[in-house]
Amino acid sequence: MTGSAGTLARLRGLHPGIVLAILDIVGLAIAAYLSSVALTGTLPYCGPLKGCEEVALSEYSRIGGIPVAVFGVFLSLTLFVLAVAWWRTSRPALLAAHYGLSLLGVIFEVYFTYLELFVIGYICVWCAAYGISLVARFGVALWVWLRRDRYSPEYAG
């Protein structure tokens, strides 16, 4: 009881930059896995769920011949660097860049989900997980941005 309360208190005390960095690592891991299977010509493991193969094999899984997941790797890597840099320096421009880039990713994710639902006809659970991580990153970045005076001394006072 005391232990879980302590964990909760520790979590509450976490700097949001760390929360963003953790979410960025989750997204990076998913995108890296999907990129590795796409670049080696194999298919993502979907378990009992259906749809990963169909989405991975569709023409929409690549842009200009490059797997979409590779772009996800670069986006997550950039967001991770921004999150850590903001955590260490509290420079608002870094948080702003994280907010803007994650929103850009969310917009593309909305388009890709539309393709999955209405064009390809299947939902890839890995892509959905990446999308959820992006929405979470955007949400946290927005939440922090609205309370940025608390984290950025430049704005305090």
């Binding site: 193969e53 169909e54 569709s58 907010y99 803007g100 850009l104």
Partner: protein, 255 residues
């Protein structure tokens, strides 16, 4: 009672106050100076996202719009390879590979261009395996017309050439790339008897054959394309040729 000295002082004080106000930064300007506006940032991100989507649409453009000139392809198989309708390879080959495809499936085209030529040149040519095609049509009306056209070409002994030609002309799903007129034009370019081709393509037998193919896929538990079934084991998607060759070798050894 005010003295000139006191009035001057007041004037001086007002002047000082005015100067001080002029020099002091504007409160609203102080508030926004150096700040990044959430609204502008959101707008820039939204525009960036839309540009990215537009770029994706342009870069993934239709490689075969319905107006594109037709490409005629001949299946890349050794000249003396036995062919019987949907079957390719020796009838007494120890291993049968069941191939389930939808003509509008881009991955099927990839399989046909990448894996099929090596399979035909090796396992099918040396008599180790026989390939049997099973039509599926779950991507829309042009999947059905293409399957019927391929079956009709098979009635003139040219199924595999039509199979290769259809994939060479595959475009976006149900865009007209595999519409009736273009399929007839493909048959013409392949030198088929067009009267017979047209009659076969529109026949009840063509529909019955497609229904049978879909039924076979369902019975085999196949739900996506391309799927290869070798000795009861399904290989879904574009599996690398060495994996397929190893599966054929294992199935042959197990006999």
């Amino acid at each position: 009672m005010t003295t000139p000295n006191a009035a001057k002082t007041r004037r001086e004080r007002r002047l000082e106050e005015r100067l001080a106000r002029r020099e002091a930064p504007h409160p609203r300007r102080t508030e926004t100076k150096g700040r990044i506006s959430l609204g502008w940032l959101t707008l820039v991100a939204v525009v960036g996202g839309l540009v990215l989507i537009a770029a994706a649409v342009v870069l993934n453009g239709d490689r075969n719009p319905p107006t594109a000139p037709l490409t005629v392809a001949v299946a890349t198989v050794p000249a003396d390879l036995e062919s019987d309708g949907y079957a390719l390879g020796r009838a007494d080959a120890p291993v049968t590979i069941d191939l389930y495809e939808d003509f509008q499936c881009p991955a099927c085209r990839t399989w046909g261009e990448g894996v099929f030529p090596r399979l035909a040149a090796n396992e099918l040519a040396n008599g180790t395996a026989r390939l049997v095609f099973h039509p599926m049509a779950f991507l829309g009306p042009e999947s059905t017309t293409a399957a019927n056209a391929a079956w009709a070409a098979g009635q003139q002994g040219r199924f595999w050439d039509m199979w290769a030609t259809i994939y060479a002309n595959q475009g976006r799903e149900n865009s007209g790339a595999l519409g009736n007129e273009r399929l007839v034009a493909m048959a013409e370019r392949l030198g088929l008897d067009l009267v017979k081709f047209g009659a076969d393509m529109d026949s009840a037998a063509a529909d019955a054959d497609l229904s049978a193919g879909i039924g076979e896929a369902s019975a085999a538990g196949v739900s996506s394309t391309p799927t290869l079934v070798i000795a009861g084991q399904a290989y879904v998607g574009v599996q690398p040729y060495p994996d397929i060759a190893a599966a054929i070798a294992a199935a042959g050894a197990a006999r």
